[in-house]
Symmetry: C2
């Protein structure tokens, strides 16, 4: 099994790489080769044959070179996040749309040459939905994104479905919840605070909350998100049909409920480290997002997420803090 | 008022041009200039200052040249039809996606230069929907096209909404029913028979029906379609909001009901000219299309279509046959 991961230097890409290396297999077949790519050179795991490639996927020829080794599974994670895609229109369209199209086009060229037909797992987002939204959002609800990021993800979903329908590849889109708790430093996603209000206080640092505690949102841990990707790679797509992107399960919780879970896990002292600093720009973006999704299709296909924020915090403590809270 | 029409040599483009010239105005302002473009040189009306330009809209610089005169209203009708977009993937994506994007990108460049902010009226299609479909299709139903044409139209809807939200243009998409009765020769649209089974018999010629009479579909006359475009150009978009594409009203009718109307208008002899020749390929495409749409939003905004097939046939006789049936 040869696996290509785009966006491999990002948080999900690194965690997916670790998971694949730890499993030593994917979809029931031994993992014998990894191709890892990103705009910066991804970390090279020692345990498996890995090509690491720093490249701009939207540049002419880049996708062809990445696919030359005919990876069986392509995880297409490379993306400019929501906040940055909103402030830098050109960059967002270039990475989130042009690069995706370049990748799919390169797949098609190989398909027409020799019947190449990889599983392509694509990470979409709840940002394809735009307010006003029902709660939960039904699986057949239209995509009316209110950010360029959501627009680009919705377009990529359409392309993936068309490519799969035409038989160029075997695509599965996973419409990810907001990934929480993101480890590491904040990125430019408008959703970043959902993680930082837990992550920072857990290690005794301050965090800023830019929205009211009543804001409800849709979450899954990084561990669950990686689980979705692995599940999508092994899925029998005959069970998916032509509607190739699935809303992933998640946990619908308010910021207040997040903070209550933080209190239970790390005490009042941790919660006091969260400073309320309302930010109109963030509130405007986040206010257009989903509070909960109907993920029945994905649940029936074996995708699983957390059911409490205590669990999400415990996953973070286990995976990022060595299983113990600093005293 | 300066108006640009892309796809101006096509059936709708020509009828829209005739209508604008006949009205002498658009959205309450006198029409003083037309720019008409297509891949072949469009017909030049004598009654108004008109630039006619044969160009490939997807070619570098083409859109910039067309917009140099800062048209107040852009009707973007240029498209490769469904059947052809399915058989020629490259052409479909080039015209229906790349050219649309090039046009929008050129609008953005001018917007950033000098605040240019045209009304852009885009013709989308019911092909954005893919089976299984509810009947009627609610306005908030998701877009899961089962053709590349539908995919390209759905993507263009997303781009138009993003461009409008960002303030680069003031877009309105009209999701057209199948236009029936199309005048002239058949084109490569899979929906062509819906017109030919009426158009040909009305002038004493045979026509082929490739689907069962029970097939139900969603129709509006060319006159109504042009009416939608004109209405969209003059619409107060504050009433439209961020969901920029509207499902147009239409008439839901079975092929059998079409033939009954033909019988009432032109007699049994006309109906006998329709030969039943089932075509699996056409049935497969048409079987994924919509039978009826909820068009409440558009109706409230003043968009109007026919309410009987007798009326649709009468419009054809008036507009194409000089008001009389050949004896």
């Amino acid at each position: 099994m040869h696996v290509l991961i785009t966006g491999a230097a990002g948080m999900l890409g690194r965690k997916l790489t670790e998971r694949l290396v730890a499993d030593g297999s994917l979809a029931g077949r031994p993992l014998d080769r990894l191709t890892l790519t990103d705009v910066v050179e991804p970390f090279r795991p020692a345990e498996v044959t890995a090509d690491v490639v720093a490249t701009d996927l939207a540049a002419p020829g880049a996708a062809d070179r990445l696919l030359a080794g005919r990876p069986d599974v392509v995880f297409h994670l490379a993306a400019v996040v929501s906040g940055e895609a909103e402030t830098d229109l050109d960059l967002g369209y270039r990475v989130n749309l042009d690069a995706t199209r370049a990748l799919l086009e390169a797949v098609r060229v190989l398909h027409e040459q020799d019947g190449y037909h990889p599983r392509v797992v694509f990470t979409s987002s709840i940002a394809v939905y735009g307010a006003p939204l029902p709660d939960p959002i039904p699986e057949d609800f239209h995509h009316t994104p209110l950010t360029s990021y959501g627009t680009q993800k919705a377009i990529a979903e359409l392309l993936l479905a068309d490519w799969s329908r035409r038989g160029f590849c075997d695509g599965v889109g996973v419409r990810l919840p907001t990934v929480c708790i993101r480890p590491g430093r904040p990125n430019k996603a408008a959703s970043g605070f959902f993680s930082s209000i837990l992550r920072e206080p857990l290690v005794g640092q301050e965090a800023v909350l830019p929205v009211p505690e009543t804001v409800r949102h849709w979450h899954a841990s990084p561990r669950s998100a990686v689980g979705f990707l692995v599940r999508a790679a092994g899925l029998d797509t005959a069970l998916v049909g032509p509607r190739r992107t699935l809303s992933m399960p998640g946990l619908s919780a308010t910021v207040g409920e997040q903070l209550e879970a933080l209190r239970r896990v790390a005490g009042e002292r941790a919660v006091r480290l969260v400073r309320h600093e309302p930010d109109e720009a963030v509130m405007r973006i986040v206010g257009t997002w989903a509070a909960a999704l109907d993920a029945t299709r994905a649940e029936r296909l074996g995708f699983v997420a957390e059911t409490s924020f205590d669990e999400i915090i415990r996953v973070h403590v286990e995976d990022e803090l060595g299983g113990v809270l600093p005293s």
